[in-house]
């Protein structure tokens, strides 16, 4: 185990070296004069009022000036006041006479009662620490500063996630803080093999980005690929993991997500255990998971918590739901304008009667209704919650009642659009639901131009496109294509927990595929069942 750590540290050091080499060679060092240093601090931060500079005096004869600099709101108030300011002011060591050169040492070793303390001497690093919530202690006459870890401040507490809701399973959701998020994972996977690597991305924002994987399960090439792509990023800001997602995707021209994101720690843990890599971005509760496969977007963590038969049934339902949400309206358009022969006569007569007064062609009707629905959805997302109920009333009345009664749209169309809408909400992953929405319009257009022929062409293009996608080198449609019979057990089916023998082949490391021991299948107790038992007595539970 130790060797793992070593390796990791070495790797990190190597990376750090590389980074150093990469950056500008002129490094600004801290001056020894306190006032000069303060000037620089003020000048660099534009004398912002939230940068607090607190000057104290320590030692006697000569008095040494010490300054504590921190950013209001980023620090943990009690630790700064209690463990920093108070201890410096009241510490008996400091009231004695100290050599100015030794002052910093004394403060570090005897005074500051905080965990993380380090020294820095260049401004670049100093500001990075300062602006991420550390407190900096300058001592007059010394050209090194002390960085005390006092990160804290107001943050959202851990709450139930608002996406990927489940009935059963952990109620914890990620927060905006990387530290908290990583700790949550540590709490789930208590293994030293859970490795984390951090980097700062964004020339201005300097956002903390960490990648996490389980050494030994993950495929080395995938980790390397993720790191390579992250290093390539040269952008001023990273405000959300979506920035990263769009900058490291395999293919840009596709409506389908090739990275998964989630708010649930248990989902990340499950993915890590299959050999995937998680990317944490500070400032967002959405953690990226790579590589992502098509089938994954139809899976929910709850599938693994429920029994396999139920999970399999739900997964099939989701596939049907996805198909409906993609082709629903297109099917209606194609069937009613091109292929009336395939509708049963009675149904056709009913639909025809409804359409009798509708002035628009079916395609236009479908597009109109779909767009109206999209408007409604978008509006209800962005509006203040108080207006929401008004929205739904207006929507229901205008679209559901008035439009039908006026004869502008047919009731059948309303039914189709509503079913599609419900279907698109029932897809477990939001990102694939958005893709379905986009693709749906393409299908409607194709159906409107040339009926089923157009739809089948669109379908073929869709399949070819999906097959051509890769996520971090892994074919997007695997394990369906290329087919992997072992992997099929966790696609639209979910094999029973006792039969999950292997991790996904294309994602996990090849030498560590085994997931569970032999004979995991639970069996009824020996004394039960139709068998000739040598025992004369049962186990006393006979009814």
């Amino acid at each position: 185990m130790v060797s793992f750590f070593k390796q990791k540290r070495q790797m990190k050091q190597r990376d750090a070296k590389k980074e150093d080499q990469g950056q500008s060679k002129t490094v600004d060092y801290i001056e020894s004069s306190l006032s000069a240093n303060m000037e620089i601090v003020k000048q660099k931060t534009g004398d912002s009022p939230d940068i607090i500079i607190r000057t104290l005096k320590i030692s006697q004869d000569p008095e040494i000036k010490t300054t504590i600099v921190y950013v209001q709101g980023l620090i943990d108030n009690p630790s700064v006041t209690d463990f920093l300011i108070e201890s410096i002011m009241k510490n008996p060591h400091l009231s004695e006479k100290i050599l100015p050169q030794k002052a910093l040492e004394v403060i570090t070793e005897d005074v500051v009662s905080l965990g993380g303390v380090a020294t820095v001497n260049d401004w670049e690093k100093l500001f990075l620490s300062l602006l991420s919530g550390d407190s900096i202690i300058f001592v007059d006459g010394i050209n090194t500063a002390l960085v005390a870890s006092t990160k804290g401040g107001e943050r959202r507490s851990i709450q139930e996630p608002s996406t990927h809701l489940t009935v059963r399973g952990s109620r914890e959701g990620f927060t905006e803080s990387n530290v908290t998020n990583i700790a949550m994972l540590r709490r789930i996977i208590n293994s030293p093999d859970l490795w984390i690597e951090s980097m700062k991305i964004g020339t201005v924002t300097k956002t903390d980005v960490s990648i996490m994987y389980i050494n030994g399960i993950v495929k080395k090439e995938i980790v390397e690929e993720v790191k390579k792509r992250l290093k390539r990023i040269n952008i001023d800001s990273i405000l959300e993991s979506g920035y990263i997602e769009q900058l490291i995707e395999d293919q840009v021209m596709t409506p389908f997500p090739t990275l998964n994101h989630t708010e649930r720690p248990d989902m990340v843990a499950g993915n890590l255990l299959e050999g995937r890599v998680a990317i944490f971005v500070n400032g967002t509760p959405f953690v990226l998971v790579a590589p992502a496969l098509f089938v994954q977007f139809f899976q929910s963590v709850e599938d693994y918590y429920n029994r396999f038969d139920i999970a399999t049934a739900t997964r099939f339902l989701r596939i049907i739901v996805f198909i409906i949400s993609v082709v629903g309206p297109a099917l209606y358009v194609a069937a009613t304008t091109f292929h009336q022969e395939m509708i049963p006569t009675k149904l056709l007569v009913i639909v025809a009667a409804q359409r009798e007064t509708v002035p628009l062609p079916a395609v236009i009707e479908a597009l109109l209704m779909e767009i109206t629905f999209e408007i409604l959805r978008e509006a209800s997302l962005r509006m203040p919650k108080a207006v929401g109920s008004t929205m739904s009333i207006v929507g229901a009345l205008v679209i559901g009642q008035a439009a039908v009664q006026a004869g502008i749209v047919s009731p059948a169309m309303v039914i189709i659009v509503s079913i599609t809408a419900i279907a698109s909400f029932a897809t477990p992953s939001y990102s694939i639901a958005i893709s379905a929405r986009l693709v749906r319009f393409a299908f409607i257009l194709c159906a409107g131009i040339i009926g089923f022929y157009g739809m089948i062409l669109a379908f073929i293009i869709l399949i070819v496109h999906l097959c051509s996608l890769r996520s971090f080198g892994v074919p997007y449609m695997s394990p369906l294509a290329p087919l992997n019979t072992q992997g099929l057990g966790d696609t639209f089916f979910r094999r029973p927990m006792w039969a999950f023998k292997e991790r996904p082949k294309l994602i996990s490391s090849k030498n560590n595929l085994k997931r569970e021991g032999e004979n995991q299948r639970p069996l009824p107790p020996e004394s039960r069942g139709m068998k000739t038992s040598t025992e004369r007595k049962g186990d006393g539970n006979e009814s």
């Binding site: 009336q340 022969e341 009675k346 009667a353 359409r355 007064t357």
Partner: protein
Amino acid sequence: MNRKRLVLLLMLMGTTFTSGCWDKTELNEMAIVSAVGIDKNEAGRLVGTFQIINPVNVAGSLQGGGGTNPSISIYRATGDNVLELDSNASTKISRDMYFAHANLVVIGEDVAKEMGINSIFDAFERSPEFRATTRIVIARGVKAKDLVETLTAIDKVSAEKVIKTIESTEKQQGGSITINLQEVIKNLVSSGKEPLISGFTVRGNTNKESKIENTQTSNMAANPNAVGIGVFKDGKLIDWLDGNQAKGTMWVLDRIVNTNVNIDWEGKKDAVTYQVLRQKTNVKPKMKNGKPKMYITVRAEGDIREVNAPIDLASPHGSIDIEKKLAKDIKKDMEDAIKLAQKNKSDIFGFGELIHETHPAYWKKHEKDWDDVTFPKLEAEVQVEVFIRRTGIRNKPYLLDIKKGDQ
């Protein structure tokens, strides 16, 4: 490269949008034809009657209201062939006639008898729009137009009514035969089988059938009825099978589903009613002295439904007696049907096909003169086995007790 792609895309979009949507038909631009009737006028030209659904009236009545307006409209056209009928009719209709839902083709008796049906069906078969499963009936005793025009009560569209009636008649009585376009054509083409097509007529006041009042009384003045099965030879209608002849034919054809069979008992007519639940007819040709002979075996299972004679059903003897009598009656019906077909020189049973399948060499020799020479002389042996499985929820008929009391 990007500009090229853009140009290509624009070209593609241009071609699709400027040329429009070729085969698009909105539902409110089409007239859904539900039935086609074909008659002949005095001049010998075809007269087509097209029954078109008025969706609003049909759907309205399905939803509970409606019923005040007729659910169908009728258009007529004259022409020399079927397609001409179609194009001539379109001068009278504001919409395109759409035939994919035409479930019924009615052929006038005079057309079937005099012109034959051979020349009618090609247009129906060739068109990708027309269904292969369209049912065919012959208007017996009336014009095809009378049948197509009739307004009916429960099934708003009379085409539906006709189809359902034939199906239920076939099932309950064995007096009709459901046959679709594809089967008719197959039989017309085959040299070893001739088609059978059900007859249909309008009973009652034939002037009222197209009036809305017809559907507004509980006792309809004009009501379409299934009557008999038409026998064809060389594409022409030559005879009608009614009652027991039709039943016998259906027995031979193995198309009986759950027919009631009535037998006389000790001089009392139709005293016992037996309902067939399962049956299987096997027809096997065997060569004897270089000549084929048909062996037809029937095995029927069923229940006793009505006994108006004092028979003790509780004892197996009673049942066996009835079984024997039933077998005899069915056998007679079948033999009569075969004899009639031989008299008509029309192989409606497909014996020829069977011989083709089993004795191809013999068939090759006799294919040409099958209908006229070989078939009429064909020997057939019928064996019928009837089993009574259950007798309903009573064992002995109460008549037996009444008789006893009288004594």
